[in-house]
Point group: C2
Chain length 440, copies 2
């Protein structure tokens, strides 16, 4: 059968860009055999044209001139691997205007300017494929967009940041402090020298913005997402939570109720130790989705790294080349901001269970104080844990878990607790997320 | 944007057929909004046109005459939900000849006659979409065919039969006998009145044949697959294995080595308790796939049931309607039997670790006998377990686990052990499968 030759231009020759170039040059034959599409790398654009990369490019295709890609009418697909949001956005817009379909892994850009870029693509009758932007090797976007078409998606729970998951896994299993676990992650290459975007939850929020957009069909803005990072987590809280049957994960959560109201949040979450997501360790990612017809599905795999991400980029390139992406993208109609804004739940209204730890001074009446503050704020206690003996400063950690209550009640209670002098320091509060796992 | 109306004919109005009819009639609007395809159910064919089903069909579309579907040129897609391999095969062939694309969930038919049907589809320039045939709600086939295009798939490990997984989960967690757990599964609707196809491993083999075909690109025949069911599993062995760190699952395994040699087998498998698949409980399915670029990925969800399977059928119908399936199916070129036959590994050559239990009579010299038989057959012991005290018949269970060895060595050793009169009854042998989980 005749093969269709598809020329690809790549912008950004860093880690993932190199992986993409490697797969295109080394796997062209097997990809052609499987799909009928023979990929040809026509042009690689990067400001650095001299550093050696672990891939051999055909002579003369590496350039620092984006116009070579834009002006080459034989190039159908432009792969943006620049990263960041400024130059990358201009690159994508220019490629769309030049009539190229765009493939990208740039989650920050899509989370911040996706709506604008999608509109630009529609205007130019082109498509943007972005499977690689969320959870690298896991084909989660195609699963949502095509595999679950017949479903009303009601919730998603994702571990979508490998850095945080690696750190929390080590804090849990090796009893490491946050700073030790972070240093380990940096040494292993799982955390950047400046890890802020990861550990603050920002990167997870980028991915949630993209996933929630397509799952719920809303124009989501980053501001819609409540974000709390893992910087303040202590190994003690992980241990106490563990004693009560929970495992700590940084979750990206999207929930839609029957009225279309959407709750979007990224925060450290205690989940049941025997839930599927609790088992996702190290740098792995997983996303659990609930669909009206399919029930619970979960996808698990490497969320980052050169080759897993490049693998997703190639899948997108083929999808675009076959025309599948165009068909799917054409129908990416998101409910505009004007309508979605009022459908985003304020975090104060969010219903959840909570883990609260106070450091109590070793004196009579402490538990009564504790109980009164919670009771006064309509908070009902679900479980409690206090080990015998006192710790440093003559204080003892007293942990409780609550039944479901509104965030605003907890916020009020935490304020009240902090004012009481029978407790030392600020109370610790971590959300407990009961993932509605259907087992039979 | 203009909608494209796509007419669908459905053959087989049983459980899943009803689910498909339900989704098409009730979700047409939301599917059209997401995909631009408006599905219309033009015709439902079943020999039983009188029994009430929990879906309201448009007047006059239920018929017992297949020719109404075949002769209606406005029907583009024929959905075969008949089940079985005789009538269903004729239905598919006739639909292909009548110019319809075919969507099916019929794993038995595809496992037995898939190669013939695929050829018929290619000849008629039509496609067969069969996402729903394997692991119901999990979009595993699309993941293999499109998401992992850039990968050389080296192995897959699947829990693909919900009935067996439900039974084994209950035998493990509730300490139930096989027969109790089976009865429970039947009561809950997870096992058929005649459960043979499921518990024998036959159904898992059907799915493995399909998945291995597309993952490895070979024309696989059912005879290529070594199959052992779960009928002989006792709760004692599950418990002893558990004490040694293992969890028992019925796995469908496909492995391809660097020479293209393929090992295909379905059998009860002890896997490490902390592996991802060990956590898959109850009627759920999961498939773990290893790709050269992406590393390990796992897909988890409901493997059967009316709505999960119907959800996958709808995804296929949309994929066919958009033309995506045609593009993918056109390139389903499987290496023909003449070439694959010699690439299938004989089970005797299969390398594995093993769990072996003998019931030893309580007398001196037993362990020496045991050890000698294993040693004489080049089998090295990895672990051992013998509880103090004797059981019924004055015998005691002695369990060992082996290092990796060839199946033929084990077969010989089991023969030798059975002959020795220091042991009572037949030894129990269960394979230990070390899934190469990469954790960091």
């Amino acid at each position: 059968m005749a093969e269709q030759i598809v020329k690809v231009g790549l912008v950004g020759f860093g880690t993932v860009g190199t992986g993409v170039a490697k797969l295109i040059t080394e796997k062209a034959d097997s990809i052609a055999a499987k799909t009928g599409i023979r990929l040809e790398l026509a042009c690689v654009v990067d400001i650095d044209t001299t550093t050696d990369r672990p891939v051999k490019l055909p002579e003369g295709i590496l350039t620092d001139d984006l116009n070579r890609l834009l002006g080459d009418e034989t190039i159908q697909i432009g792969v943006e691997m620049v990263g960041g949001t400024d130059v990358a956005k201009q690159v994508q817009l220019k490629m769309l205007e030049a009539g190229k379909d765009v493939v990208t892994a740039n989650k920050a850009l899509l989370a911040e300017h996706g709506n604008e870029l999608y509109r630009a693509a529609h205007k130019n009758n082109r498509c943007i494929a972005f499977e690689a932007s969320c959870a690298g090797g896991i084909p989660i976007i195609s699963a949502i967009r095509t595999g679950l078409t017949a479903n009303n998606i009601t919730a998603m729970y994702g571990i979508v940041n490998g850095t945080c998951n690696y750190i929390l896994t080590n804090m849990t299993s090796k009893d490491e402090d946050f700073s030790e676990a972070l240093a380990q992650a940096q040494e292993k290459g799982y955390a950047e020298a400046d890890p802020t975007l990861d550990i603050s939850g920002g990167d997870s929020a980028h991915k949630l913005a993209i996933l929630a957009s397509i799952a719920f069909g809303y124009e989501i803005s980053l501001e819609d997402i409540f974000v709390e990072g893992i910087e303040g987590i202590s190994k003690d809280d992980i241990r106490y939570g563990g004693e009560m049957g929970y495992c700590l994960k940084l979750l990206a959560i999207g929930q839609k109720d029957e009225q279309g109201k959407v709750s979007l949040r990224v925060h450290p979450s205690f989940i049941a130790k025997d839930s599927s997501l609790a088992r996702v360790g190290g740098p792995f990612n997983a996303v659990s989705i609930f669909g009206s017809a399919v029930g619970q599905v979960m996808y698990y795999g490497r969320g980052a790294g050169m080759m897993p991400t490049a693998s997703a980029v190639i899948a997108d390139i083929i999808d675009v080349a076959l025309g599948n992406s165009a068909a799917t993208f054409r129908h990416l109609h998101l409910k505009p901001r004007s309508e979605t804004e009022q459908l985003i739940e304020n975090i104060d209204d969010c219903m959840s269970r909570f883990y609260i730890k106070v450091m109590a001074k070793d004196q009579p009446g402490v538990v009564a104080c504790y109980g009164k503050v919670l009771g006064d704020n309509q908070i009902s206690i679900s479980g409690a844990l206090q080990h015998e003996g006192t710790g440093p400063d003559n204080t003892v950690p007293v942990v409780i878990t609550t039944h479901t209550t509104q965030q605003k009640n907890i916020t009020a209670a935490l304020n009240d607790l902090e004012k009481l002098d029978v407790f030392s320091g600020k109370p610790v509060c971590i959300r407990i997320v009961d993932i509605p796992e259907d087992k039979d």
